[in-house]
Amino acid sequence: MVTDNRPLSPHLQVYRPQLTSVLSISHRLTGIALSAGLIAVVLWVLAVASGPAQYDRFMAALNHPVGLIAMAIWTLALFYHMLNGIRHLLWDAGWLLDLKGAYASGYMVVIGAVILTLLSWWEVMT
């Protein structure tokens, strides 16, 4: 008996994306991105321990456009995951569980993450 191809619920392809569902999957996606970012953190510590030559090479890689784009994504992911994580903790405590609270806090998380990202990059660049 074949059981592998049974349809699963919910059928994502027939649902219109909502703020709540998009933010929910974004929490996981940013979590995965930040896990990759942790590799960079570990490599940075190893670079510091390895001496000036290794450190300079690592910092040059970080300042390469690819490194800068990665750090920009990680910054946004970090602030988003942190703020949305607080939202999840509030939900776990039983707060904001109604539709209105879920949407209002959702918008606050998105706006807050964007503002904090822009603020920190502005701080670094100036």
């Binding site: 592998d4 996981r28 979590g31 995965i32 930040l34 896990s35 942790l38 590799i39 953190v41 570990v42 510590v45 190893l46 510091v48 321990a49 001496g51 000036p52 450190y55 300079d56 942190m82 994580g85 607080i86 999840h88 903790l89 776990d92 670094v124």
Partner: protein
């Protein structure tokens, strides 16, 4: 009529075996990282654009070395717990699931040990 096995009541885990423990570990490590975030901001401000000498002097300070180890250990643990849930939810091939699970656990362990040894190396000036 009661359908529950008396042993299930005695253990008081409901349908779960170890899920409650995972749930708590994920949230407590999240709260710990919220507290550590204050130090991370301070660390990033101190370390952005730093030379190798400045970066190692920063990490060599006992306060920063200790908090860096705490932060890296906590975030790797939190990351591993999160990736575990993602793998459990989306990878339906048992073999691939087990392989990825092992990879994330070993990866977090290896990354953590390397980072801790590197920080201690810097702190003790080896």
């Amino acid at each position: 009529m009661r359908f529950r096995n008396p042993l299930a009541n005695a253990r008081n885990h409901g349908a779960a075996g170890t899920g409650v423990e995972h749930w708590w570990a994920q949230r407590l490590s999240a709260i710990m990282m919220l507290v550590l975030a204050a130090w991370v901001v301070y660390a990033l401000i101190s370390v952005i654009g730093a030379t190798h000498a400045e970066a190692s002097a920063f990490l060599a300070h006992p306060f920063n070395a200790g908090l860096a180890i705490l932060f890296i250990a906590t975030s790797l643990y939190h990351s591993r717990l999160g990736l575990q849930v993602v793998i459990e939810d989306y990878i339906h091939h048992r073999g691939v699931e087990l392989a990825l699970m092992l990879l994330t656990k070993v990866g977090a362990l290896v990354g953590g040990v390397l980072a801790v040894v590197a920080i201690l190396n810097i702190a003790f000036g080896a």
